[in-house]
Amino acid sequence: MRIKEFISKIKNQGIDIIEHTEKVIEECKEINKDHNYFNVISEDLALEQANEIKKQLKNKDKRIKNKKLLGVAISVKDSICVKGIESSAGSKILQGYKPLFDAFVIQRIKEEGGVIIGKTSQDEFGFGSFSVNVGIGFKIPKNPIDKERSCGGSSGGAAGITKKADFPHIALGESTGGSIAEPASFCDVFGLCPTYGRVSRYGLIDFGNSLDKIGTLGRTIEDTALLMSVISGYDKEDSTSLNVENENYQSYLKKSIKGMRVGVIKEAFGNGVQREVEKNVYNGIGELEEEGAEAEEISLELPIKYGIASYYMIGASEASTNLAKYCGMRYGATEKLECSFNEYFTKVRGNNLGDEAKRRIILGTFARMSGHRDAYYIKAMKVRTLMIQEYKKAFKKFDALVSPTVPILPPKFSEIEKLTPMQNYLMDVMLVGPNVCGLPHLNVPVGYEKNLPVGMLLIGDHLQEGKLLQLGRVFEGKNI
């Protein structure tokens, strides 16, 4: 059932919101048994919200009339704070942390009647591309199409449940270096990461402050656009929030794409890209052309060649300072207070952070140390300037740029185990450019190969999410 139809049935009480929510929670529990999409299923909160909706319906409360998400199940990536619900960003160091407040995006969802069903699994703090770098004691989410394969990451649980859920549902994800589009590609769903600053980061457990963006994942592009319309907008609590007009993103889905110009990134094809992926992405470009868009090749050298190095230097540097606050004193994991100051912090962090978190902290601390700062951290920020200039030049000519989302089909866990951390980082090659430069990007499912999904990436200029949705609409229904 489409979400629009579902909401109208909730409003005219053709569907009982409480019975429906109970069924949704049961289904989530069942799915979670062997797929591990949730770190927490927030049953009590969901039922409390359902009861409140029922009460408002009974009282014919006028406020209900225009609610955009009335009764719709919303899953939340674990790194986004939900008041009273354990929010650990998939890390043991934050286990037991129940925020005292809602993130801005959660406040917006609650205002629009969305029902929060749980916190989805992820790489610890977002440090990964396959959701295998989960924190100590957490479970790895499994691909909804083939359980021996990865969901992608870091918003792996979000993408998995989006594909698997048969009930009306939309997911909140977060992307620092590609963590929305990548799992969306591996799980055959739509995933939209907005412009940096378009959605408030207030209440997001941060990874990289100049990189983090909260976005949406949906089974349909309409769902993806709907939730984005709800969560985007200016927030004075986030000093990097962009003070620009709100938009109705669904309105772009009705527009024709005739005459739109699409730049096909030359360096994103060929070497290192699986043939099956390439073939399906070329088919996708063909479909855009059939609908009247004009595609042309463009060379973008910097993002593909230097994006990874620039991203990992900036990301690790920012992560290493952000993670400095986890010291076992005010919240999260603790140890006995029997040693000195530094011994205590060192012990709490050593015992509760996973391998990848430690690697990134070490990399980032190194890149910011005196003697290395200019060569690594500042250099990466300068390369970012050049990359932004290169993209901006391309957007003078094109409405959107296109590439594969990931160079490979979803890999098996047994294949991932053999990769070194550096080989792992290279999987983000298509995605780090738009992420470092704060550009909106959208994964659209374009086809299947060997029964596995292939995703295509559309990249837009700052604040041009609408154009991406307009183009992406061509692929509506391909994944169902």
Partner: protein, 94 residues
């Protein structure tokens, strides 16, 4: 770039991370590989290029200098077991 045990232990100490012997052995070649790869940034000519600390241009965002309600002391202390007399209790400083 010389990535040796001494450097790794020094960085871990600054970052307040306890690494086991096993972790040191595992991380050393991994960090070496990553840093060698990241050194390719040197190839890019960035003379007279300003660093972008943010991806979009942002002007100073100031809040009004106004008194507001904040987290209560009880709430702030509710998330830890280490507290005493209305304060956080920390490890020994000296």
């Amino acid at each position: 770039m010389q990535v040796d045990r001494k450097l790794l232990e020094h960085v871990a100490e600054i970052a307040r991370l306890k690494l086991s012997e096993e972790e040191i052995k595992k991380f050393m070649p991994q960090l070496k590989e990553a840093l060698e790869f990241f050194s390719q940034l040197k190839e890019v000519n960035t003379d007279n290029v300003k660093p972008s600390f943010q991806p979009v241009e942002l002007k100073n965002a100031m809040r009004e200098d106004k008194e507001m309600e904040c987290l209560s002391q009880d709430d702030a202390l509710s998330l830890t077991e280490h507290k005493k007399d209305g304060y956080f209790k920390g490890p020994r400083a000296v």
